[in-house]
Amino acid sequence: MNEQVLCLGSQANLLAIWTPPEGEPRPVAMVLLNAGVIHRIGAHRINVKLARRLAADGYGCLRFDLGGVGDSPTERGAADYRVQAVRDIIAVLDAVQARFGVAAFALVGICSGAAHAQAAALVDRRIRGVFLIDGYMHPTWRGRAHFASRMVQAYGWRATAARVVRHLAGRARRAATGDPAHAADGLQRSRAEFAADMQQLVGDGVQVVLMFTGSVLELYAYPAQLRHGFAGQPWVDRVRCLFEPGVDHTLTLRESQRLLVEHVRAWLPHVAPAGSDR
């Protein structure tokens, strides 16, 4: 293991670990993002596991803490968290390009990490692939029906009905009280904004994977939900959609971790620098 510690960014505040590629290096490097407040090793150390396996396939990998997360202090004069997250990502891409000569990147993010990866890919064309796990989701009635059906199968009619009533009551209560925690979800993105983002990314040749786990079944409940929900959109058949109801949001079981590693390994060869032939 020959990983290197790096302190990146204009204020050297971003703590990062670089896993060099083994053998013939590929022209794409991986960048692994924080999931929420979890530090750079990732949920259940998944970023370490991914980095070492992908490095064995020839991909240099960087895992790092965004400013204010893990061991990276917030930059002096930092912007709003989401804006700063994108700046931090771009800063580490600059550093990896300068140090290791890689000019194309693939990003993997879970939850808020997916949102940051998506936002960064929209503004930095060196990002040629994004693997987004439980990122933005847009429920549909058909999806809700699928979820209800799964609930009935698992718990029976009575428990399902009780849950639906609780859900609707909660929604009504939040609507009536203007619950700020619900109303002001800073990471939310409208359906139209999401569609425009996807259109831009696939138009730019970015390889996009959207993976949905069994932790978000209320919002994403069956494999074709994305295609049905965005039917007719030109980008929808150009993104890869993975539906993994047996996997939880933070990949708790070893089998879930192995599955993610294999999904990423299968996807990465499709990610290539801009203008190159795949």
Partner: protein
Amino acid sequence: MQPFYAGEAARRLFALFDAASTAVDGRPGPAVLICAPHGQEGLRAHRLLRVLAQRLSRSGCDVLRFDPYGSGDSAGADEDLDWDGWVDDIGVAAAELARRCPGRPQVWIGVRLGASVACSAAGRAASAAASGSRGPAVRPAALVLCEPVLDGPAYLRSLALATVQALEASCSIREPAWRATLRDEPVVLEREAVGFALGEALHEALRALSPVTLARPGVARIAVVAPKHDAALAALARDWRVSGHEVTLEVLPYRFDWTAEEALNTALVPPELVGRLAALAGDTAAPAPAR
């Protein structure tokens, strides 16, 4: 804060050094080695221990945190982490801290399983000093232990249960097979250990861990903190006192869910715990009052 890799090439350990940012009464404080918990507990405690390190460095201590082999950013897979290797890694980290802070007394702060292994490492360091047996070359002047794990089988059961609870809390629909496995084959979930696979060697070591098997630390001063009265801990403290250790046992009613995931809506850093651990590190390293 200086991040770096230490140790032999085949067993590289990730470490973070926080240099003292001030001196206390013109004198440097103790050098503090932080021994983090295992697995999900370690992940959950990361911010707590970072804040503790910063607090200590501001109060005049040099502080080293590290990931043992098979954990965090250190080399090795989850399954490679084992008790004896962890003990050795504490020795490597303590030697690195001694190299950076020569002649300074060391206080080792251990949390959860990290506290138990720190006891073992301190005990082996004492034996090594007395008889030349194999063990860490650096001995701590004091230990601060936060909720040490004393009952290995109970800890394993708690990991199995926490694995199921994590899945049930996270997944939209509960899978009945998880509870069935917990009932019929708990060892499977013990080895899953809330997302940080437990190797056979560590699993065996934990099955054998009890207050009887836990080595006497051979350290003059020991402070123990727990969130509630624990009869086994109290008995162990008495045993250590009888064997010549100066032991204080404090009940500090902090609340911290060690295995929670992102812990939304719960404290990531209980201030009372950080404050008390920092204070104890300073107190235990102070010269003993004249009797």
